[in-house]
């Protein structure tokens, strides 16, 4: 390495990056110059530009909106673009790995297919009652059901909750927090025929596979509460089951 932009300053972060593919891999160490305010994404970009052009990692918006940059940083799932490197480093060290519970494609890039397959299985989408009513629904922004939708809908689909969830690791059938959170948003939509979501959430691997550990809520970078959504679904399911509607 040569040239002014590659010169290492006195202080450098020791960054262990997981490199490999579906067949396996391991940690490779890089020394990345400290730059005050640099994010994990900046660290990865530095490595790709200066040390390892072949490094595979994902990002798009760089401002915490698209949800494509999540990785494990020192064992914790985080969004790379909004995570400052220095505060999460341990004694100047960063260990960056691909997201837990996701199959690796290459280096830090993981396969989201199974993640979105879970959304489909959970019916994590708007499913209106049919036939549609004649008049458009008028839903006040401050209506209580609309606020429940708001709380759940702002998910950026980053996969951090799934990576954080131990129940997903213990039970591969489990739909997981993101998919159930999306289903909960739909259940609270007045225009939705809620039963489809409830039936999906009652199937094997549904809400009952959650043990309420709350890691999804703890690590969600945008402050959503999938654990609360799952509790809401459990409650609705209980009522539906008691009424014999399932």
């Amino acid at each position: 390495m040569s040239g002014p932009d590659t010169a290492l300053p006195d202080t450098a972060l020791v960054v262990d990056l997981w490199r490999g593919d579906a067949g396996g891999g391991g940690l490779v160490r890089y020394r990345v110059p400290v730059d005050p305010g640099q994010t994990i994404l900046d660290v990865l970009t530095w490595v790709q530009r200066h040390a390892e052009p072949g490094l595979a990692y994902r990002f798009a918006c760089r401002v915490g909106m698209c949800g494509s940059c999540a990785v494990m940083v020192n064992g914790v799932p985080r969004w790379a673009c909004r995570t400052r490197a220095i505060p999460v480093a341990r004694q100047g060290r960063l260990e960056i790995r691909p997201l837990r519970h996701f199959p690796v494609i290459r280096d830090l890039v993981v396969d989201f297919e199974a993640f979105f397959a879970r959304w489909r299985r959970a019916l994590g989408r708007f499913a209106p009652a049919s036939p549609p009513p004649d008049a458009l629904a008028v839903i006040a922004p401050d209506a209580s059901d609309r606020q429940l939708v708001d709380a759940a809908i702002e998910c950026i689909g980053c996969g951090i909750c799934l990576a954080a969830c131990d129940s997903v690791g213990a039970n591969p059938d489990y739909l997981g927090p993101a998919a159930l959170n999306r289903a909960w948003a739909a259940v609270n939509d007045r225009r939705d025929d809620t039963m489809g979501h409830l039936r999906a959430a009652a199937r094997d691997g549904g809400v009952h596979a959650c043990h309420a550990q709350g890691s999804c809520r703890r690590f969600c970078p945008v402050g959503r509460d999938p654990a609360g959504a799952i509790v809401g679904l459990k409650r609705r399911l209980l009522v539906a089951a008691l009424k014999g509607r399932l």
Binding site: S167, A170, N171, A202, R203, D204, G205, G206, V207, H208, A209, L237, L238, A241, L246
Partner: protein, 105 residues
Amino acid sequence: MTEFRLFLIQRITAGLLLVMGVAHLAILLAATQAPLSAAAILARTHANPFWPAFYAVFAMTAATHAALGLRVIAREWLGWRGTAWGIGLWAVLVTLGLRAAWIIA
């Protein structure tokens, strides 16, 4: 759906256990405070069919709750996905519980 039904059963048995467990503790305390001898306790449970009935339901509820909980733990931690051993465990626990209720009847 099966899983969800079992989950519901576990929740319902948990609620019952809470009530019956507290009742059981109160009975224990009352019997030891009295104080009643083992023979005196047995004389009362023989005289009144409520006691064996209460403990039969209590034991079955506990057996069901325990078997369902252990089943989930075994699935998640040991990867035992079969159903036979869970049903077997439930049958053993229910038998033990009912045997105890039968003895005080």
